[in-house]
C-alpha cells in the first residue's frame, strides 16, 4: 500500500517536472534558458494553484545547477518574517500580496529591486512593478479579488436572477431555503481570525467606510458603516452552515464542492479550479458559475478588495543569491507559461500576453467596477488582527455591533501603542 502511494507521488512529481520543462525550452548542453546556473533560491509563499505554478517554475531551475527549494503553505505569513530576519536569510524570496508585503517592509527584510530590474528586467511590464516611495519592492504576477461564485442550476430552479447586491443575495438565499433546495445556501469564509476580518473589510468598504481617520493611525471602524457591515454579515450568517466561524476559504470551497452551498463570496484565485477536484458531483460541475463582486447598501463601490500577488527578494542574502532568485522567479513568470492552458486559467495574470479567460470574469469585473485595493498601510495588519479577534463575539450574538467595534478599536489602539504608531 505504502509503495503504491510512493510510486504515485513519484509519477506525479515526474509528470509535473516534465510539464514544466516541456513548456520552457532547454538548450542542448543541459543549461536551461533563463535559469541561473548557481546560487541558492529558497521561496516561501501561499499555496493556491497559481503560486504552485510559480514554485514549480522556479524549481525547474534546479536542473541548471542552482540550489532551489520552495515552502508553499497557507501558514506562509507566520514564517516569512522570521525566515528572512536571519543573516543570511533562510528564504531568499517571499511570495506576498498587498497585505503581507507591509510586514516585510516594516521589518526591512526585503531589498529594493531597481538595479536587478535595470539589468534583467526585460519582459517584465511596468504595471507589474510594485513601487514604494520610488523603489521597486516586488514584482506582481497576478491580480485577485473576492467575487460571487454561484450555482446557476439552483438559481434557475428557484427562478432567481444572479444577485448583484448583498440584499439580493439575502433574498435569493431565503427563496432557495424556502423552496427546500438547499438548507444553508450561503457560503462564506467566516472563520474567526483573518478570514472573518477580511469579510468585514469587504462589507465595510462596500458601505463606504474607511478604516482610519484620514492621514492618521486612529481607527475609524466604530462608525455607521461598521455597524451596517456587521449587521449584513450577521444576516448572511443565518443562511450559512451553523459552523461558519470555523470555515476558512478551503472549508467553504469544500462545502461548495459537496453541493451544500449555492451562493458565496470567494477568491478569484481559488474559483478557477474550484470544481476540478475528484468526486465533485456532476450537477455542481455543470452549475458552477462566477460573476463580479456584489455591492451593498445601495453603494457603487463593490463590497470587495483588490489584491495583487507578487514576489520579493530578501535583503539579508548575498548579491549572487539575490540575482539567482530574481532570475529564477522572472523565468517562472515568463509570458511563455501562459501557453499551457491549465496555467492560463489559474489566475488573472498580469503577465504580458495574457488573454482573460471566462474564469477571470469575476476579478476583471471587480477591477472595472472600482473595487478598492486592500489598504497597504503600515498599521493595517494590526487592525486586521484586532478585527479577527473581536468580531466573533458579535457573530455569536454575545455583543452588540457597537460593543464589538468598540472592542476592536480598543484592542487595535493597545497594539498600535506597543508598535509606536499611536502615542
Amino acid at each position: 500500500m505504502k509503495k503504491t502511494f510512493a510510486l504515485a507521488g513519484m509519477a506525479g512529481l515526474l509528470a509535473s517536472t516534465a510539464m514544466a520543462v516541456a513548456t520552457l525550452p532547454a538548450s542542448a548542453d543541459g543549461h536551461i534558458a533563463g535559469c541561473p546556473d548557481s546560487g541558492r533560491i529558497s521561496i516561501v509563499g501561499n499555496e493556491f494553484p497559481a503560486i504552485q505554478t510559480i514554485g514549480a517554475g522556479a524549481m525547474a531551475c534546479a536542473e541548471a545547477g542552482a540550489d532551489v527549494s520552495t515552502n508553499l503553505t497557507s501558514e506562509h505569513q507566520t514564517i516569512n518574517i522570521p525566515g528572512m530576519q536571519g543573516n543570511p536569510a533562510e528564504y531568499t524570496s517571499a511570495i506576498v500580496a498587498n497585505s503581507s508585503i507591509v510586514g516585510l517592509i516594516n521589518e526591512d527584510v526585503i531589498r529594493p529591486l531597481d538595479d536587478l530590474i535595470a539589468e534583467h528586467g526585460d519582459g517584465i511590464q511596468q504595471n507589474q512593478l510594485i513601487t514604494i516611495n520610488g523603489q521597486v519592492m516586488a514584482v506582481a504576477f497576478m491580480a485577485n479579488a473576492q467575487h460571487l461564485v454561484y450555482r446557476a442550476d439552483i438559481l434557475e430552479e428557484a427562478g432567481l436572477d444572479v444577485p448583484t447586491t448583498y440584499e439580493e443575495m439575502l433574498a435569493a438565499a431565503e427563496a432557495i431555503r424556502a423552496a427546500g433546495i438547499v438548507e444553508n445556501p450561503v457560503g462564506g469564509a467566516y472563520a474567526a481570525g483573518w478570514n472573518l476580518a477580511q469579510e468585514f473589510n469587504n462589507m465595510f468598504l462596500g458601505f463606504g467606510g474607511s478604516h482610519f481617520e484620514a492621514g492618521t493611525a486612529e481607527p475609524n471602524v466604530n462608525s455607521e458603516a461598521g455597524v451596517q457591515a456587521l449587521e449584513m454579515m450577521k444576516a448572511l450568517s443565518e443562511y450559512m452552515n451553523p459552523d461558519f466561524l470555523t470555515h476558512d476559504s478551503n472549508t467553504t470551497n469544500a462545502e461548495f464542492r459537496a453541493g451544500n452551498v449555492a451562493l458565496m463570496n470567494m477568491w478569484g484565485s481559488r474559483a478557477a479550479t474550484l470544481v476540478d477536484a475528484e468526486g465533485v458531483p456532476q450537477e455542481v460541475i455543470d452549475g458552477f458559475a462566477i460573476a463580479g463582486p456584489m455591492t451593498v447598501g445601495g453603494g457603487d463601490v463593490p463590497a470587495s478588495t483588490l489584491w495583487w500577488d507578487g514576489w520579493t527578494v530578501a535583503a539579508n542574502i548575498s548579491d549572487e543569491d539575490a540575482e539567482a532568485t530574481f532570475l529564477a522567479l522572472k523565468r517562472a513568470i515568463a509570458p511563455s507559461i501562459l501557453e499551457d492552458e491549465d496555467t492560463a486559467i489559474q489566475a488573472v495574470w498580469l503577465i504580458d500576453g495574457y488573454e482573460p479567460t471566462p474564469a477571470a470574469e469575476g476579478v476583471f469585473a471587480a477591477a472595472q467596477s472600482g473595487t478598492i485595493p486592500y489598504p497597504m498601510l503600515p498599521y493595517m495588519g494590526l487592525l486586521h488582527t484586532a478585527l479577527g479577534n473581536e468580531l466573533a463575539d458579535f457573530m455569536q450574538g454575545r455583543e452588540t455591533a457597537e460593543q464589538a467595534l468598540a472592542d476592536v478599536e480598543a484592542a487595535y489602539v493597545a497594539a498600535a501603542r506597543e508598535q509606536g504608531f499611536l502615542q
Binding site: 451553523p242 459552523d243 466561524l245 495583487w308 455569536q396 497594539a415
Partner: protein, 342 residues
C-alpha cells in the same frame, strides 16, 4: 558531602539550567519591557497594477537609524503588562465603576482577552487534571488485573492517545464532531435536534476540548500509576486478603496511599501542561469559543505585524501563573520533605 565536591557535582547541571532555563526567561523578561521604536512615518507615492496612490509608509532609513541607536527599543517598564491586551488595569477599574452587579462586572471582564483566556484555561486545567488522574488510575488498575498475556496489548492501546501527535489527534476529533461527522451526527440523533452543532456552541466546544484534554493526557497518568502498581508490597495485600478485605478496600487502604506521591507528581506535571493548553484550540479552530494564554502568544506572533513585546509579556505572565498554580503542591512537597528529614 564536601562543599567543593557538591559544587563540581552540580556545576554541569547548574550551567545547563542557566543557559537553557534562566537565560531564555531573562530574555523574554527584557523583551516584555521594551517595545519597538515609533516608526518614522512619511507620505510616499506607491504604484502597482491598480495605479498610483499617495499613502502612509515607514521611512526605513530614519527608522533604522533609531533602531541602531537603541537596539532594544523604547523602555516602557510594565506598561505592556497593564494594557488592554494583558491585565487591562484601566478597563477593569472602569468596568468595576460602571457595572451595577457582580454578574455585569464579570461579563465585562470576559470581554478582555486575558480574563477570557483565564476563564477557559482555569476551567480546563481544574476539570482535566483530576479527571485524567482518576481515569489514568482506573485504566492502570484494570490493566494490572488482566492476565499477563493480554497486558502488553492493553498497554499499547491505552498509550495510543499519547503517541498520536496532539495536533493530529485534535484534528481527527474535530472532524468527527463536525455536524456531518460520525460523532456530530450521533449527538444530533441523541439530542433529537438535527440543527445541533458542537462547533457553533461555546459550552459544547468547551466540553469537547476538555474531553480531548482528558483523552490525550490520561495515558501519562496511566503509565506512571501502572509502574507504581508494580511496587505495591504483595505481602500487605495478602495479609489484607486474609483479614477479609474486599477488592475495593484493598484499593482504598493499601494501593491509593501507596500511590499518593505519584498522584502529586502527575498532578504537578499535568497542572503545568494543562495550563499551557494550545494544540486543541488550534486543531478545533476553537478560537471563537475558547482562548488560552498560549493561544494569545501564538496569535500575537502570527499576525501580519508581529507583536513581540505583547507576546513576551504574556509569556512572563504564563510563567507567573504556573508558579502560583503549583505553589500549593510545591509547599506540600516541601513540608513532606522536611517532615521526613526530621
Amino acid at each position: 558531602m564536601k562543599h567543593s565536591t557538591f559544587f563540581w557535582f552540580f556545576a554541569p547541571t547548574g550551567l545547563a539550567m542557566l543557559i537553557f532555563i534562566a537565560a531564555p526567561i531573562a530574555s523574554v523578561l527584557v523583551q516584555s519591557v521594551f517595545t519597538p521604536h515609533e516608526p518614522v512615518i512619511i507620505e510616499a507615492e506607491n504604484c502597482g497594477p491598480f495605479g498610483c496612490t499617495t499613502e502612509t509608509t515607514i521611512d526605513q532609513d530614519a527608522t533604522q537609524a533609531l533602531r541602531d541607536a537603541e537596539p532594544l527599543g523604547r523602555f516602557r517598564g510594565f506598561d505592556i503588562y497593564f494594557d488592554r491586551g494583558h491585565l487591562a488595569v484601566a478597563e477593569v477599574a472602569e468596568a468595576w465603576r460602571t457595572s451595577d452587579s457582580l454578574g455585569a462586572f464579570f461579563g465585562e471582564l470576559g470581554d478582555l482577552p486575558f480574563y477570557r483566556a483565564m476563564a477557559f484555561t482555569l476551567t480546563y486545567t481544574f476539570v482535566c487534571t483530576p479527571a485524567l488522574i482518576a481515569l489514568g488510575f482506573v485504566i492502570a488498575i484494570s490493566v494490572n488485573a488482566l492476565h499477563r498475556s493480554l497486558r502488553g496489548l492493553a498497554i499499547f492501546f491505552s498509550l495510543l492517545p499519547m503517541i498520536v501527535t496532539p495536533l493530529v489527534g485534535s484534528l481527527i476529533l474535530f472532524w468527527m464532531i463536525d455536524s456531518r461527522g460520525v460523532l456530530g451526527t450521533f449527538i444530533q440523533y441523541l439530542a433529537d435536534d438535527p440543527d445541533l452543532s458542537i462547533k457553533a456552541s461555546t459550552p459544547l466546544m468547551w466540553i469537547a476540548l476538555i474531553i480531548y484534554g482528558i483523552w490525550s493526557s490520561a495515558p501519562f497518568a496511566f503509565v506512571v500509576f501502572y509502574a507504581g502498581l508494580q511496587t505495591v508490597p504483595q505481602d500487605t495485600i495478602e495479609s489484607a486478603k486474609i483479614d477479609g478485605a474486599s477488592r475495593w478496600e484493598q484499593i482504598r487502604y493499601i494501593i491509593i496511599p501507596h500511590l499518593m506521591p505519584l498522584v502529586t507528581f502527575v498532578a504537578l506535571i499535568q497542572l503545568m501542561d494543562n495550563f499551557k493548553v494550545f494544540e486543541p484550540i488550534l486543531g478545533f479552530t476553537a478560537q471563537a469559543h475558547a482562548q488560552s494564554l498560549s493561544w494569545i502568544i501564538f496569535n500575537d506572533l502570527s499576525g501580519e505585524t508581529r507583536q513581540l513585546s505583547a507576546a513576551a509579556a504574556t509569556s512572563v505572565m504564563t510563567i507567573v501563573c504556573v508558579a502560583i498554580l503549583l505553589s500549593p503542591v510545591l509547599i506540600r512537597t516541601w513540608r513532606d520533605f522536611r517532615g521526613r528529614a526530621r
